[in-house]
């Protein structure tokens, strides 16, 4: 079976792949905080959120395997990094020790995720619809976590508030790529795989995140005036941060040396 390649997928495959890749790559970034998060509670919370996101990625990758015949190596370990279709928001390297960056990214992503799942709850593709409610029940806590940290970081002003502002300035243009269409966006909606267009989901997202961030005295860039990144992810284009992350999470797989398996001394004796 070939690897999934953006631009050459059925509407259901395209929808599943962007869901799975977003969750998987974000979880990879979350795990980088293990033992480094600012408090033990934050460390545990983020580990748990990462595990949820890996679990959700698996739900969608499982469907690609069960319904479309892909194998796990096609989807993850051997897939060309240029065939991943996650939003660049989730691949960006975290500035060294910048907890605010992770909190802001999590908030921007998790609101988008809730809206996206709402738009999939009545999917014409039953296996997606069947999984949505369980995923949603696990996502509420992620938003609660991000918002409680945003409240704390912005509540006292000073350096923490400045870091949140700077993370919003940096991440907001990339967050908009969450809603960038894949080649067959029209077919996805026409077939009812997702019941709402990405443009509508994006409008709802802006209606929610902009007033909330402004209520924290954070200035949100004007979405029509931001300079949009060249890399939108959904077509396989990615930032420079992606290559290193991809290499890191596939390194162990390649080190296993499947082409040259270890043999026991007594074998073939």
């Amino acid at each position: 079976m070939a690897q999934p390649a953006p631009g050459d997928l059925s509407p259901v495959e395209a929808q599943l792949l962007r869901l799975a890749d977003d969750e998987y790559v974000l979880a990879e970034r979350y795990t980088e905080w293990q033992i480094f998060a600012p408090t033990p509670e934050a460390d545990l919370a983020l580990a748990n959120i990462a595990q949820d996101e890996f679990g959700h990625a698996r739900l969608w990758y499982d469907l690609l395997q069960d319904e479309f015949g892909y194998e796990e190596p096609d989807l993850l370990w051997e897939r060309d990094p240029g065939n991943f279709v996650h939003s660049p928001l989730v691949e960006l390297e975290t500035p060294d020790g910048d907890w605010a960056d992770t909190v802001v990214r999590s908030y921007l992503y998790d609101v988008a995720e809730r809206l996206r799942l709402d738009a999939l709850a009545d999917s014409s593709f039953d296996p997606i619809a069947d999984r949505v409610r369980k995923v949603q029940s696990e996502e509420g806590y992620h938003r609660e976590h991000a918002q409680s940290w945003l409240d704390r970081l912005t509540g006292g002003g000073g350096d923490a508030h400045r870091r949140v502002q700077s993370a919003v300035d940096r991440l907001f243009p990339y967050a908009l790529t969450l809603f960038a269409p894949t080649a067959n966006e029209d077919e996805i909606v026409a077939a009812g795989v997702r019941t709402r267009a990405l443009a509508d989901v994006r409008a709802d997202w802006l209606d929610e995140v902009v007033p909330y961030l402004e209520s924290l005295d954070v200035v949100v860039p004007d979405p029509s005036a931001v300079s949009h990144p060249d890399e939108v992810g959904r077509d396989g284009s990615h930032t420079g941060d992606w290559a290193a992350l991809h290499e890191e999470f596939t390194a162990t797989y390649h080190e296993l040396g499947f082409d040259d398996p270890a043999t026991l001394r007594s074998e073939n004796a």
């Binding site: 595990q51 949820d52 996101e53 890996f54 679990g55 959700h56 698996r58 739900l59 619809a129 069947d130 999984r131 409610r133 369980k134 995923v135 029940s137 696990e138 806590y141 609660e144 409680s148």
Partner: protein
């Protein structure tokens, strides 16, 4: 200290759909045997049967082949492969069963509300309040 000083996550927001949890009480024959065998399988982290946790959604046996439909407490469950294998092996110990398969489903979504009364007592004894 005011009661809202400590924010907490409310996990008890699930509703129990009609007919759940399923415990196999009305099963007969080989299917009853499979339910009995599954009752012996415990959650990997807690000394509670997966049947009492409400994880088993359906059991059918046809011509010696058992099919078990089950769910997981949450989607990221790292014990998924281990647990499905345990369930498959347990089902095959039932009289009249030669082969078994296990499928995972997430609808209806599991919540702690699906734990049986006996499961709740056992969890309480273990130190968990649900």
């Amino acid at each position: 200290m005011s009661s809202d000083a400590c924010a907490h996550t409310d996990y008890e927001d699930g509703e129990v759909p009609e007919g759940y949890p399923r415990t196999g009480d009305d099963a007969t024959g080989a299917e009853a045997d499979v339910w009995g065998a599954l009752a012996e399988v415990e959650d990997p982290e807690m000394p509670v049967s997966i049947v009492d946790l409400g994880l088993i959604y359906d059991v059918t046996v046809e011509d010696g082949h058992a099919s078990v439909e089950m769910t997981l407490t949450y989607t990221g469950c790292p014990a998924k492969d281990m647990l499905t294998n345990d369930v498959r092996c347990a089902a095959m110990t039932a009289a009249g069963v030669e082969d078994a398969d296990v499928t995972i489903q997430y609808s209806p979504p599991w919540s702690v509300e699906m734990v049986t009364e006996r499961g709740r007592e056992q969890l309480q004894e273990f130190g968990l309040s649900v």
